[in-house]
Amino acid sequence: MDFNLSKEKQMCRKIYKEFAEKEIKPIAAEIDENCEFPSENIKKMAQADMMGIPFPQKYGGAGSDTLNYVLAVEEFSYACATHGVVLSAHTSLGAHPIYKYGTEEQKEKYLKPLAKGEKLGAFALTEAGAGTDAAGVKTTAKLDGDEYILNGTKIFITNAGAADIFIIHAMTDKSKGTRGISSFIVEKDTPGFTLGKKENKMGINASDTRELIFKNCRIPAENLLGKEGMGFKIAMATLDGGRIGVAAQALGIAQRALDETVKYVQEREQFGRPIAKFQGLQWEIAEMATKVEAARNLVYKAAKTKDEGKRFSKEAAMAKYYTSEVASYVANKAVQLHGGYGYIKDYPVERLMRDAKITEIYEGTTEVQKMVIAGSLLN
């Protein structure tokens, strides 16, 4: 396996790094504190063609691949995990299902503005009684002439308050269980579609997470994505890709926590010398660094496997499971090694620890990733 990034990707990474350093890092603490969605930066990302990195240019994308997109999510998350998840949910969850399952007309109408970053995307599967167990979806879609009528409520939807185009999963035939789920493209401001309360979260506070409420919401029948009953398959395949994005987000958080700690322990003096001189602490740093490096290899490998057109469910699940746990581990250690300073908001590690936790939960908990991994080995 070639561990070197191509020159093209090295250059893209340099651009993402510069963007993160100049545009994202300076506002990260403030937007976390104020729970403020980074709309201005999303516009700037669109201007630099960063909102549709893996999609072909004929659909408005940059014409690159998953690995390049992973580098962007990683670098942005290094500066601010919210920017990472906005890009990841938009690209992998909002735009990708249309690219993979949409008709040419749907791609023209919805994928193009998403990939150009003119519109923001979101994805909704989770409900109060359905998350990991997708068969519990209660939102319904009933065909009525040339329209579907949606009823139900989705919860915990990333980008909800800022998104323009939503991928909604609803039951078209309850009797068929998961085979009765279908996917739909729904535009914001469709009559009968409203946003519910904004969640007050532990971390990634600048991301806009809300309920979506459908009350007799009529959408054109042509907005069905794929065929009726394909929704579960579309959702699972989409989440496979999404997990690579979350893993990249976790990687960015972990790397930042490591770098902040390496810097701090060399500056902080106790007993007349920098605390980095203590061997016990050196071992902690070595462990953190090794885990981050191992995580990076898993994340890049999952992305490369997808780019090669191979099956990548197991690789994505391994990358997401391992990297999210590494992010929490490294961020937790970072706070510990910063001592009291790690617990106050003057240093970024406090935010990193809060932001890291969600990567173990969304787009499939660690436990779900283990089910996917074991399933791929034991069948």
Partner: protein, 262 residues
């Protein structure tokens, strides 16, 4: 409007090591960037193209690795980029560099505006832009901090040490710009991908590809020879005052009185 922008790839730090024998910078291992003011020049050129139409050609002289700077220039919005790279150009001072760039600009053909950054962060000479204007026998406006183009008229605000002046001339013109002029955009990821897929996007010219007098190229033709290069040292000593704010203020006042400043 046909616009030419001259850019230089420079090391991305002031902490570069110096080759003591040659008196030049050691570039290996130091990340390289487009000289910041050249990026401002490129941004202005791309903005003018977006407003008035036309074409932006970016020219750089440097070693083969300077191609990276041109890929970035292409990703920012240049239509054509040309790297002048030949061992014969090596060791050029500002005079030989300006000569080589001027000959390349003549080869490119018609131009209305030529943009250069006011100076490069690795040399700080601010000579290449004005020398190109002299070679091409066109007007030049230096230290441009604001710019207005009305038809063939060019009105520029020049930043001076004690204020500014407003100068008007007509095209063709060479402008050297300051970082007050604009905030450069980020390169487009899509155009980076295009640049790597389309090898034609970066042309490389050797001394055989355009008309040059070989006696005017490189180190031998350079009237400036580097006599010595050194890292400047400061003979001023700094003292950091310790204590509470009140104590520090008190100490500062007594120091100022001691020096008879207050």
């Amino acid at each position: 409007m046909n616009i030419v922008v001259c850019v230089k790839q420079v090391p991305d730090t002031n902490e570069v090591k110096i080759d003591e024998k040659k008196g030049t910078l050691i570039r290996e291992g130091v990340p390289s960037i487009i000289n910041p003011e050249d990026k401002i020049a490129l941004e202005e050129a791309v903005k003018l193209k977006e407003e008035f139409g036309g074409k932006v050609t970016v020219i750089s002289m440097g070693p083969p690795q300077a191609k990276d700077a041109l890929i970035e220039a292409y990703a920012i919005g240049a239509d054509e980029t040309i790297l002048l790279s030949d061992k014969k150009f090596a060791g050029s001072d500002t005079w030989a560099t300006a000569y080589t760039l001027s000959q390349a600009i003549k080869e490119v053909g018609e131009y209305d505006v030529i943009f250069c950054g006011h100076q490069a962060i690795d040399g700080d000479t601010a000579q290449v832009g004005p020398q190109i204007a002299e070679n091409l026998n066109i007007p030049q406006i230096t230290y441009v901090m604001d710019l207005n183009i009305e038809g063939k008229k060019v009105i520029a605000k020049r930043k001076l040490e004690d204020g500014y002046s407003i100068v008007e001339t007509s095209q063709p013109v060479l402008l050297t710009v300051l970082d007050d002029l604009n905030i450069p955009r980020y390169p487009s990821i899509k155009r980076v991908i295009d640049a790597f897929n389309n090898k034609e996007s970066i042309k490389v010219w050797t001394a055989n590809d355009f008309e040059v007098d070989e006696d005017k190229l490189g180190l031998d033709a350079s009237p400036t020879q580097v006599y010595d290069t050194f890292v400047p040292t400061s003979d001023h000593e700094a003292e950091i005052l310790e204590g509470t704010v009140e104590e520090k203020v008190e100490k500062l006042i007594s120091k100022l009185k001691e020096k008879k400043i207050v």
